[in-house]
Symmetry: C2
Subunit: 287 residues, 2 copies
């Protein structure tokens, strides 16, 4: 078990990590996309105090060295699901499952689009990880909306459990499945329909009655993985302590809104880190 899991290895996540580690917390960073952070694209940076005339690459290197000095673990794994168990969180990746007491989201500018009803019905029939949630749909009808061919493997897996699987690829390619309860549809997804749980999926020319929909995306922002996380104007809603509306979850950096600046991310990372430390300490005292 970790005290604190940090999702995102950009300036905000790294700044949070060193502050948590200095306060003797057991920290892990999930940073599947360090190589592609926006910071690296900055060819000239002059406004991070203390580092005039710098570049994104130079800063990133200095930041990673700072974190390395504290021997903080960075796992290059993509988070597929997050479960909130009240006083701890479970994070699922393709490689494994991890438990932490507190969570800091520092995943940068949110880039993934959602369709109508997707967010509202998350956890109520909408999911992002077929392997994780598939067993819930035994004998039922589901759809998979796949950004890449990685979805095909998950589709085969679901077809063994479910009575029927609709496969809706968003990539152009000839696809063949062995199972005969899979139907491939090349259509645009318009919205997820349902009140308390998913009832149907509206496509361009037809509507599928079903029990579950999996959106398999290249990147799912963790904000999307957590049911009930408050989003304000596309960004994670936080207070001045970088606390979200969910106890134990904090956020920092570009994912909380503009301005998209390294100094803001580093500052918010520090605040989120210290707030999370304080949350963990209270939690331990009360147990």
């Amino acid at each position: 078990m970790y005290d604190i899991a940090i999702i995102g290895a950009g300036p905000a996540g790294l700044s949070a990590a060193i502050n948590c580690k200095i306060r003797n917390k057991n920290v892990v960073i999930f940073g599947g996309a360090i190589e592609s952070t926006d910071l690296l694209k900055a060819s000239h940076m002059d406004n991070y105090l203390g580092f005039p005339d710098s570049t994104g690459i130079v800063l990133q290197e200095k930041f990673l060295q700072h974190v390395a000095k504290f021997s903080i673990e960075i796992k290059k794994e993509k988070i597929l699901a997050i479960y909130d168990y009240g006083d701890q969180f479970q994070l699922t990746t393709k490689e494994g499952e991890y438990i932490s007491r507190g969570l800091i989201i520092a995943t940068g500018i949110p880039k993934t689009k959602t369709v109508e009803g997707e967010r509202e019905l998350l956890g109520k029939g909408v999911g992002y990880c077929a392997t994780c949630d598939g067993p819930l749909y035994k004998g039922k009808i589901v759809a998979i909306v796949a950004d890449t061919e990685e979805g095909e493997e998950e589709c085969e897996f679901l077809s063994e459990l479910c009575s029927k699987v609709y496969y809706i690829p968003k990539y152009k390619q000839e696809i063949e499945f062995k199972s005969d309860n899979i139907e491939i549809l090349y259509e645009k997804v318009e919205r997820v329909i349902g009140e308390k749980k998913v009832e149907a999926l509206k496509l361009e020319t037809r509507t599928l009655e079903l029990d579950g929909v999996f959106f398999l995306k290249k990147n799912v922002p963790p904000s999307q993985l957590i049911t009930d996380l408050r989003i304000e104007n596309k960004f994670i809603g936080v207070d001045r302590n970088m606390a979200t509306n969910i106890a134990g979850i904090f956020a920092a950096g570009d994912c909380t809104g503009k301005p998209f600046q390294v100094a803001k991310a580093v500052g918010e990372g520090t605040v989120a880190g210290l707030s999370c430390v304080s949350y963990i300490d209270k939690l331990k005292k009360s147990n």
Copy 2:
């Protein structure tokens, strides 16, 4: 006229300054107490991302070099009064008067105590600069509560204008005045009395009926200089853009609350700077 005046030359003020300057704003920093910022006392600092194993002195030096590179002016003058004229502010120091369109307060941890009624009646009989506001009290009765002997000069000045001046020193010393309308009282000040304006000053053993009270302190936090600035739990109230409740005034760093960390100050300085730039740009467009 300056576009932006920044009060405070610690990490928050300096970070704000470089961001405003990069956006081509005409900036001035008032930093009377650079020599005594809390940063300098830090013997070991490990949590400002990119600068492991540092000290307060080393960081401060790097920060000042960064600001010097942009040729940003730092005036070592103490702000005595601030007047809000709607779309511009007047700042008064012993040395002169300055006008700016926007204002960023970055003055660090608030350290000055106030007595009951002092803040409520600021600008309604309570003042911090006898030289500035003295002429308003011609022929009237005022009191001076002085932290240091510097108050004696202001007392002599007021005694020439006012019918009566009570001088209440908070330092131990034999004091002599030439004017016979000055009365020295060695008493503790308990509170300022008045509804819409100052009516009396309550001391330990007596109550003085009067028209004005000047508190001459070693340091007056600018937050105290601005009538109507919203204070929350002793700190300046700000939103996520570091805007205060007064249009054109932003705040950053320790003066906005905990945690008292360099990274938070630098991050907030960046946000306050960019928010103030945006405010100025809108102001110029609408004129």
